[in-house]
Amino acid sequence: MTAANAIRTDDIHELCSTADLVAWSGVVALHQGRQIALFYLPRGRDRRGDAEIFALDNHDPFSGANVIGRGIIGDKGGEPVVASPIYKQHFRLRDGVCLEDDKVRLATFEVRLEGDRVVLFDNA
């Protein structure tokens, strides 16, 4: 990943506002044909700290449906995960790796909270 100051402004995209997010749950944003599942932890992964947001590909490779953003979030041994709502596999929020089958990994996106905006850093 490139350093933040090297990112050109036209690579930063506003996805939605923080009011669109649902605490401790997911929503989905569409960006240039990609479906991005956004998970919002208002007090962070330890429920004590600052807000955190994670972004994963909405496509569930096990069922072939676009549903990841509608899974339940939680943690496995302290590691924040989302469970696919169809066949219940767990994916790590930070890198998209599937706990049940580590050869499977969802794409992740660089997303940040800026004031009341949710922005995507498109460094592809």
Partner: protein, 859 residues
Amino acid sequence: MTAHHTTHDSRKQLVIIGNGMVGHHCVEQLIERGATEHYCIHVFGEERHHAYDRVHLSEYFSGKDADALALGEPDLHRTHGVELHLGTRISAIDRDAREVVTPEGRLGYDSLIIATGSYPFVPPVPGPDSETHPQARLVYRTLDDLDAIRSHAEHARRGVVIGGGLLGLEAANALKSLGLEAHVVEFAPRLMPVQLDEQGGIALREHIEGLGVGVHTGQATEEIAALTAADDCAYRMHFKGGETLDTDLVVFSAGIRPQDRLARDCGLEIGERGGIVIDDSCRTSDPEIFAIGECALWQGRIFGLVAPGYTMARTVAGCLTGGEERFSGADMSTKLKLLGVDVGSIGDAHGSTEGAKSYRWIDEAGSGYRRLVVSGDGKKVLGAVLVGDNSYYDTLLQYAQNGIDLPENPASLILPQNEGGAPALGADALPDSATICSCHNVTKGAVCQAVDEGCADIAALKIETKASTGCGGCAALLKQVFENELESRGMAVDRSLCEHFAYTRQELYALVRVEGIESFDELLEKHGQGLGCDICKPTIGSILATCWNQPIMDPQNVALQDTNDTFMANMQKNGTYSVMPRVAGGEITPEKLVVLGEVASKYELYTKITGGQRIDLFGAELHQLPDIWEELINAGFETGHAYGKSIRTVKSCVGNTWCRYGVQDSVGMALELEHRYKGLRTPHKIKMGVSGCTRECAEAQGKDIGVIATEAGWNLYVCGNGGMRPRHAELFATDIDSDTLIRYIDRFLMFYVRTADKLQRTSVWRENLEGGLDYLKEVIIDDSLGLGEELESQMKHVIDTYECEWANALGDPEKLKRFRTFVNDKCGDPDIVNVTERGQPRPARADERPESLAVEIPS
């Protein structure tokens, strides 16, 4: 059937006469040991039923039918090519020709197994002709016998059982459950003379009289005389000594006799008082013929219990497949509940071993009695008698069977714990050779091995070892041993819900109730750790919903639900949802049907009648759900909770409003129940059914709650299940009025909610409930825990606060915000592609999708 060996089959011919419990077990054992490779097996059963569980025969009167009592897999014979001839009596054995005589001809055998069991002994008491007066000579052994008793009981007020042994008391209980005034007449001076000593007999008598059953001991019946129509009863029994007793029907239970006629007629060696003589490998005097079960006599003894019969069956199966098993006698200890009274008898109950000494504990007030028989040197247990409390049985049996040294004060084994009684013998004190299940001869060692090989729960253990799948008497001990084994392997029996909560669902339910906890956050803060997960969140969401009935879409609840509850619709394989409004009782107006049709065509939804008597509309996208529901709610529909672990449907039949056989308004009752309980969230889904008469068109006996109309009111059935492991519901209460019915269901449901595990249907819950159906009746009907009112008021809260979740969500723009496929775009998911089939849409399969969409977007 051919008369001789089928020529193209080179296998030997094995014939089994008798398809009772033991004969059937023998077939199972033969199959398991691969005998079908070398033998073509023919089984003949005189009864028309598949082999059934005679031990639990009496449950035929408490709600189980022939299917529920059937033993083993229904397709067993067909799957393994075993020829089963039901309703076919063998009339003779021709040993010279090595053939058996069937009604259709002769059939040759190379080996023959006689498993004809026994028949009830009916003493030659003078009385009316049995052709015209069958009700004066009923017996209690087969399903057909029970049908006969049931049909005669319909016109009877009083019934008498001759014989106060184990079976006689069961028969008396059956008469009582059929609504008759029941009496027991016993020739000996006490009840259960074989198993109990004098004091035990007295204690049992007190219990049984307390239940309203007449007990007449020391009475010999001399004559049964028919009375005239003018009399109150149909018959008068005359006893030696002059006393009489009037009755409408008589059941003989005066002992059993080995069914040895075939063997007798073909000249096999028979014991002096009957029984086919066998040796240690269960061979009769003809080495090609075996005898097993209650017809067999080993060292002068007949074994009238199923466990020794099973051991014989295994022995023969072994003999025929090269095994080494030997029959070496069997323990005749028994433990039962007769008319609700615990009775146990172990080993030498009468203390007849030389030098034996006894300890006795008598509670005259509570009619409790326990006797412990120990060896002359005071070191070992020889036998015991228990009346009133069988919780001592398992421990005493293990002491007796395994020769475990007695504790310093032997009496402590039969004393109540608070009076210096010894704690029950821990499972770890048992040697590996200790028999845990005598029906299937499973030792503690075998259980340990199964645990080592990965059996992680009782269900798996039962499949692997067969333990506890016979008479069921060893269930408690099996559980104890299993949990002990887990603990000793450091696999602490972990009943925690998940890594975030070290509590069971039941414990969490209590915490939420008692501490008045209203949100997941609060519970996590006080009693949990981490973020939670997809196991604890929905479970706790459900508990909160049952207790406080807050709308499921309220902010504190929304992140707890899985997608179905979150969006109040069921997610389908392609990420779309199904919409299922409530159609209570399956009753729907034509106008509403039209609306469903209109909505389905407008949104292009696939339409199907479900198995639950309602209509499901499939294929709606997330963002379409509010619009669809708005239209449905305007037309008078409400949510059907098809997505929730909650009350699903109450299936109804048309009932007496239209049907010529209906005796009550089943649709009306179904509607009342569905509207009463809709919205209640439960550990797993709940289904109900109401039928208008015994024809049972609503299949109520396959539901968690089943109601069947009777002339006098309703019969209530509980804990049935369809699905993966169907379970017949059990009869819970008969002829109750509508108010009582609803009171029982209120209590039942709340008690289930309080005590069940997560995702446990009522059927599984019931099977794991200690004390079983009797206990459940005590809690619900007799209110033995004093919980009745509390359960009812908790239910009342849920009913009073009901609100259609969809109507609630539609009224709140904040909640509706969630129903967006994309938060930043109004379009739908472009990957959802349907094709048309039979005039309706369905998701396209991969090979039907346009190329461009099938390509993954590289990341």
